[in-house]
C-alpha cells in the first residue's frame, strides 16, 4: 500500500476529486495548507503601502491506495491539476505499512 499526498491549487480540488472517482478512489482526506515556492504571493495594500503576501493558499489531498493503483492515481491527479503555470503543485508517494478501517477492524487493502 502507498500513501499519496498531493499539493494542488485550491480551485482544482473538484477536478481532482472527479478524476480520482473515475479511477475508483472513493476515500480521501483534504487539508487547507500554505504553499511557499517559486509562485509569487499576491500583493496587498495595507495603510497605503503595497506589500507581498509570500505564501499561496493550497489544498493538500491524502489518499491511501493499493500498490497497483499508484501510477493510475498519479496520472489522474497530474492531468486534472495541471494548468502549466508555476505553482501547480507536487505529488508525493510514501510507503504505507498498515491501514485499519476503524469501523470494522479490517486491515490492509480491505481497509482502503
Amino acid at each position: 500500500m502507498k500513501k499519496i499526498e498531493a499539493i494542488i491549487k485550491p480551485f482544482k480540488l473538484d477536478d481532482v476529486k472527479d478524476a480520482l472517482h473515475e479511477v475508483g478512489v472513493q476515500g480521501i482526506t483534504v487539508l487547507e495548507v500554505k504553499g511557499f515556492g517559486r509562485q509569487k504571493g499576491h500583493t496587498e495594500v495595507y495603510r497605503g503601502a503595497e506589500y507581498t503576501v509570500d505564501f499561496q493558499p493550497k489544498v493538500k489531498i491524502e489518499a491511501a491506495v493499493e500498490d497497483g493503483m499508484v501510477e493510475k492515481v498519479i496520472s489522474a491527479i497530474e492531468n486534472a491539476a495541471n494548468t502549466g503555470k508555476i505553482g501547480d503543485g507536487k505529488i508525493f508517494v510514501l510507503p504505507l505499512e498498515e491501514a485499519v478501517r476503524i469501523r470494522t477492524g479490517e486491515r490492509g487493502d480491505e481497509a482502503l
Partner: protein
Amino acid sequence: ESLLLDRARGCLLGAALGDALGATVEFMSRSEIKARYGVHKKIIGGGWLYLKPGYVTDDTQMSLCVARSLVRSSGFNAVDMADAFVEWMRTGPVDIGSTVAQGLRRYIAKGRVAAKESQWHGGNGALMRVAPVAIAALNCPDSLEEWAVGQAHITHNHPLSDTVCIAVSRMIQSALKGRPLLELLEIAHELVRIHPEFTFRPYNGKAGGFVGETFATAFSSFYNTDNFEDCLVECVNQGGDADTTGTVAGMIAGAWYGARGLPKKWLNKLEKNTKAELFELAKGLLEIG
C-alpha cells in the same frame, strides 16, 4: 578596439534589456499579450514577479555572477563561480529556476561543482548566463568550449544545453570581431543541421524554457529583423519564457549592433546599478587572457 568594447557592452546590456523587457510578459501567450498590450515595447516592469520598471531577473543577475567571477579569477574557476551563485541565491533573488536551485543545493550539500547528466536539464538556465564567457574567451579561444560548458554544468548537464551554450558563444564572438553576418548565420545553420530541435526557420511559435524553443525564438527574431529594437520586440511578443528568450536575443543582437544600436529610451529605463556594472564588466572581460 573601441568598436570591440562597444559590441561587448552591447552584448551584456542588450541581454539585460531583453530580460527587463521580456519579464513583463513572461508566461503569457502571444494572444494574451496582444489583448493586454497590443504590441509590448516599453520597459514597464510588472509581470508575474511584480518588477519595478527597468529591473532585471535571475537571467541578468546570474550573468553578473558569471562575469564577476571570470574577471576575479582571470578566467573560469568553477568553485569561485559556484560560490558566487550560492551567495546570490542567499540574497533571496526575485526568481530562481528550479533546476538552478537544485544544482546549488547539490553544491552546498556535496561540494561537487558539476551536475550529473540529466534528461531534465534541457532548460535554458545555463544558456541565459553564457554571454560573459563568450567575451572573456576572445583572447583564449581554445578555452571557449571548456568554459561555456563548465559554467553550464554547475547547474545544467544536458547535451543540447551544452551544444547551444557553445554555439551561441561562437555567434557572439563572431559578432564581436565584426565578422560578416553570413559567418554568424552559418554557426546557427550548423547547429540546426546537427540538432533539428533548434530549427528557427520556419519558426514554429514555441517559446518555452526548453533550450530548443528558447534559441529558435531568439534567433528567428534576430534573423527576421534588421535592428536591435525590432529584434527584441518581435522576440518578447512571442511570450512564453519571454525574459529568457529576450536575454538570448539581446546577447546576440547586442553583440551584433553594438551598444550604439541599443535604444536610448530603453537604456534610460534600465536599473542604473546593473547598467553601470555591466558597462564596466565588459572592459574587464575583454582584458582576460
